[in-house]
């Protein structure tokens, strides 16, 4: 009888102590939603590698708030409705502290709106639409990458000082392509009122007819062409443009086109002399960044692309945000991300208190072929931080009717 009582006490004691211990050690879960298949698939693989690297490093240093960070990856298949389903599952079933990720703008907006409705923090990584932090912005969303407005302005600041007057544009026929062009064109006209637009071309995303488009553009005789195509559309366009002599006649400005994601697949077919925004990882001198590139290359046996850096920095921000909040309490997380400072491989960035847009910038430079590596690279590049091109707090407040 006594031994049974003893056994009971021991069992009860164990039962009581285990959950407490387990809770102290249970990892902090983060829900990661991204387009690992479908139209975003070519770009999310390196992003995922960046995320995993960041989490490994954070956990090796003891994690966040004494707990390990655990990322649950979900594939949205490029479908907003799928992404919302994952958000529900991650928050309701997995009890994640916050949601991060997304690549496509419409997926980002769908998740952001769900996060607002359910009062869950959402750290958007890659979507570029301005609506995310401005017209549809709210307290529960922040975004890492510089948006279309910022990148368009960065390019316009340089292009406005050039001699070109007659401009044409080609881009995918949805919000990204149109806003990328409008912000660029508006700033260009401000700087150089003589600018005229001689042609606009909006092929369907993923279904470009490159040959006829190149001929159509050349028939309009522009001095310069602004390109917001990307992915396979851009690659096919370049191949036709090279053969039809477009790049010999026309100066090209390309948003994002200096990113390794878009220039590497072209190998030595990449056009030279384009003014682009991008990521010259091979030529960024800061020791912190060089060290990061070495670590990344060693880990996956492949050099980074911009997606790798975005994935890495997104999860640095996630960790810093939770650390600053001191808990995974939703309201505290929201407060913590306001004005959150993060030390990244490319220097410090801040998530602005006014709109949650990070001050991460982009590199603006000119393309050139690197015969040794067999790809196009960026030269004469300059890092333009987000602060330089973002509108002021007062202007932003006018753009955010919801707040």
């Amino acid at each position: 009888m006594r031994s049974r009582l003893l056994l009971f006490l021991i069992t009860a004691g164990l039962a009581l102590s285990f959950p407490a211990q387990a809770a102290a050690q249970a990892p902090i879960k983060v829900g990661e939603i991204n387009s690992y298949s479908g139209i975003g698939a070519p770009f999310t693989g390196p992003y995922k590698a960046g995320v995993e690297m960041a989490v490994e490093e954070i956990n090796a240093k003891g994690g966040v708030l004494g707990r390990k960070l655990e990322v649950l990856f979900r594939d949205d298949k490029g479908q907003p409705a799928e992404a919302v389903k994952h958000a529900q599952e991650l928050v309701e079933s997995e009890k994640v502290a916050l949601i991060a990720g997304t690549f496509l703008s419409n997926v980002g907006l769908a998740v952001s709106d769900w996060a607002k409705q359910n009062k869950v923090m959402f750290v958007a990584a890659e979507p570029l639409t301005e609506a995310l932090t401005w017209s549809k912005g709210h307290d529960y969303v922040v975004r890492l990458r510089p948006n279309t407005y910022e990148q368009g302005r960065m390019l316009a600041e340089k292009a406005g000082k050039m001699k070109y007057v007659k401009w044409a544009t080609i881009g995918p026929n949805y919000e990204y392509g149109k806003r990328a062009w409008e912000t660029f064109r508006d700033r260009l006209k401000e700087m150089k009122p003589a600018v005229q637009v001689v042609g606009e071309h909006w092929p369907t995303l993923g279904k470009i007819e490159p040959g006829p488009l190149v001929t159509a553009i050349m028939s309009q005789n522009p001095d310069a062409l602004y390109v917001s195509l990307f992915g396979s559309d851009w690659l096919a366009f370049v191949r036709e443009a090279q053969k039809r002599g477009l790049f010999q006649k026309t100066f090209v400005v390309g948003i994002l086109l200096g990113e390794p994601e878009y220039i590497d697949p072209l190998k030595l077919e990449a056009p030279e002399g384009m003014l682009v925004t991008g990521y010259p990882w091979y030529d960024i001198k800061s020791p912190a960044h060089q060290e990061w590139v070495a670590r990344y290359t060693k880990r996956g046996d492949k050099p980074p692309v911009l997606g790798s850096l975005i994935g890495y920095v997104t999860y640095q921000a996630v960790a810093e945000g939770i650390k600053k909040a001191g808990s995974t309490d939703r309201a505290k997380l929201v407060a913590a991300f306001k004005g959150l400072k993060v030390e990244t491989p490319i220097g410090p960035i801040t998530f602005r208190a006014v709109d949650g847009q990070s001050t991460m910038g982009a590199w603006v430079g000119t393309t050139k072929l690197d015969a040794a590596r067999g790809v196009g690279i960026m030269v004469n590049h300059e890092y333009i931080p987000g602060e330089k091109v973002l509108p002021s707090d007062d202007e932003v407040k006018k753009l955010r009717p919801g707040n």
């Binding site: 979900r74 389903k85 703008s105 419409n106 769908a110 369907t204 040959g211 006829p212 191949r239």
Partner: protein, 607 residues
């Protein structure tokens, strides 16, 4: 002038690629009646094979050409294998099950490509000797494209010789016209089918391989090309290789001039042309009216359902009512999603199962229901219940317009016209930024506070989806439903007894559109937002797959299919990145094991 000439040449080059792909697809359909979704996958595979082979074959400048030919041959062999190992097993099942099988293949091939080649975009080598350009009318024109313009007609000539100078080719022509008669004359159909599959896949492979020097390789090039190929085939007339050639030239050249004249319309140009051609010529430019197969009603299995026992129904109802008390929150949301798709699939089943009318564009009405509810709520400021109830009316109104034209056609032409209308709906919601928000969609479409909790919205969705399914059953059991079946099984006899076929089918189309719209309304308040992708082809394919998976001949088919598909998809996606492979493999296994759908097997066991 020189611009117009160069544009014409560009258009011709594109037309030749369209012809290679479409002629193979048309051949396969003409003889075997299989709507081969996997044709685009063969095209993609050949491109990736060429990419890898060109880099490894030690043939110097000849490597690319050898690689292209070898890739096309490999793909041809693969096509033959697929026919012998998979499709042949389901020829006795209703024809549509072959479509489900090819859809499963699309999924499997897509993930195989992801696995072996990775997801990053690739550019293959230029064609040695044809990498440069030649000046034409003062402009540079790629010499490779010129070579393609010469090569295309040579392929057409080769096909002509096969069809008119060989016994095998003559048999193929005969089978395209009347397959049963050819069989009755003692020709081995199986060998004929395999041969056609090999030839058709070879043409798809050739098209894919020859694109390597021009385009970028992507993991989505299969789905991009397949819709275009179907459009060309249907404009030309299914089964007619010359029709495919004519339609390729039409579409290729029109697209080239389209970017000059109507740059903003490029998103729908092709579909508008198809719609116009089909309305004027219901069997395409060079197609012939189909001969109705003598085994009447073979497109769909005869209905086998024994009505469900009332005790079963009551039990199922009680379980559904109790579910939200038992399930964790996420699974309550999941159940709502399943109800939505069960209703969506049931509405399509009215057309497919009872009417024998397969729609490839049912997402249009689902999407319009969702957009209708969202816009009435946000722009017109209607209260949620009112916007919700108006949504199916919006969808039904659109279905009335599109259905009026669609029901004049039959079989694949009907399916493709519904697809064209869905694409037009997509283009409108995608381009009409000021109202629909374009690609950024309509956000914040949430139910009001009194309906927001998962449990309440569950009962709301259960109530409306349940009512919808019951009403569809009532329609099916009514004289109207019986007449619809009569038309499906033998249109001519039905007409002879005085049934107004078009009016009947038109009504069915509107009713199906109405309930698809209701499903869209349930869905939009579940997800909180609506985007143009809701009206796109993948959304139309989903209910199609569900109906087939569940069993097209059984009344409970769409419900079982929706639940099975959504649960499989959710669980597989949760555990693997290669969800397409998992889902595709399971679908193949299911089709081979249950060639009449899951419900077909259940009914058989009960009876």
């Amino acid at each position: 002038m020189s611009l117009l000439l160069v544009q014409l040449l560009s258009g011709l080059a594109n037309a030749m690629f369209l012809f290679l792909i479409a002629s193979g697809l048309s051949l396969i359909f003409g003889v075997t009646r299989i709507v081969n979704f996997a044709h685009g996958s063969f095209y993609m595979l050949a491109a990736y094979f060429t990419y890898s082979l060109a880099a490894t074959l030690p043939l110097g400048p000849g490597a690319f050409y050898a690689a292209a030919l070898l890739a096309a041959l490999l793909v041809a062999g693969l096509g033959g294998l697929v026919e012998v190992l998979l499709l042949r097993r389901v020829y006795r099942a209703p024809e549509l099950y072959q479509l489900l099988l090819t859809f499963a293949l699309v999924l499997v091939v897509a993930d195989a490509v992801r696995f072996f080649w990775g997801t990053d975009n690739k550019t293959g080598p230029a064609a040695p000797g044809l990498a440069g350009s030649v000046p034409i009318a003062g402009q540079l024109f790629p010499s490779y494209d010129l070579a393609v313009i010469i090569f295309g007609p040579l392929v057409a000539l080769g096909l002509w010789l096969i069809f008119h100078r060989t016994r095998w080719g003559i048999l193929i022509r005969a089978a395209t016209q009347d397959r049963e008669m050819v069989a009755a004359l003692g020709v081995d159909q199986r060998r004929l089918f395999t041969g056609v599959f090999v030839l058709g896949s070879f043409l798809a492979g050739l098209g894919g391989a020859l694109q390597v020097p021009r385009l970028a390789l992507t993991t989505v090039m299969d789905t991009t090309v397949i819709v275009e190929a179907f459009v060309v085939v249907v404009i030309g007339g299914m089964g007619s290789v010359w029709g495919a050639l004519l339609a390729s030239l039409l579409i290729g050249v029109l697209n080239a001039y389209g970017v000059l004249i109507l740059p903003k319309a490029s998103i729908v140009l092709m579909f508008v042309v198809m719609a116009v051609v089909l309305i004027v010529r219901p069997w395409g430019l060079l197609g012939r009216p189909e001969i109705q197969l003598r085994a009447a009603g073979s497109a769909v299995a005869g209905e086998r359902g024994v009505p469900w026992h009332p005790a079963w129904l009551a039990g199922a109802g009680l379980i559904l009512l109790a579910l939200p008390l038992l399930l964790p929150t996420f699974w309550v949301w999941m159940a709502v999603e399943i109800f939505t798709f069960a209703l969506f699939a049931a509405s399509l089943h009215l057309l497919m199962g009872l009417g024998g009318m397969v729609s490839f564009g049912h997402a249009a009405y689902f999407g319009l229901g969702a957009y209708g509810a969202a816009l009435l709520l946000e722009l017109a400021g209607w209260p949620m219940p009112l916007a919700f109830l108006a949504a199916p009316v919006v969808a039904a109104a659109a279905a009335a317009v599109f259905g009026y034209f669609s029901v004049r056609l039959t079989s694949i032409y009907f399916a493709m016209l519904t697809l064209a209308f869905a694409q037009i709906v997509f283009a409108v919601v995608h381009q009409w930024d000021s109202v629909t928000g374009g690609d950024n969609g309509v956000l914040s479409v949430w139910p009001p506070p009194w309906l927001k909790s998962p449990t309440r919205y569950y009962y709301w969705a259960l109530g409306f989806a349940g009512a919808g399914v019951v009403l569809l059953r009532v329609v099916a059991a009514s004289p109207f439903g019986l007449a619809l079946r009569a038309v499906r099984d033998h249109a001519r006899r039905a007409e002879a007894v005085g049934i107004n076929i078009r009016a009947l089918q038109w009504t069915a189309f509107v009713v199906a559109g109405f309930f698809a719209g209701l499903a869209g309304a349930i869905f939009v308040f579940l997800k909180g937002s609506v985007f143009p992708v809701y009206t796109e082809t993948p959304m139309s394919v989903q209910p199609l797959v569900m109906v087939l998976l569940g069993g097209v001949g059984a009344p409970s088919g769409p419900l079982i299919g929706a639940a099975a598909y959504k649960l499989l998809d959710t669980v597989i996606t949760r555990y693997t990145d290669y969800w397409q492979l998992g889902l595709g493999a399971i679908l193949i296994a299911l089709v081979l094991a249950f060639p009449r759908g899951i419900a077909g097997v259940l009914d058989w066991r009960r009876s």
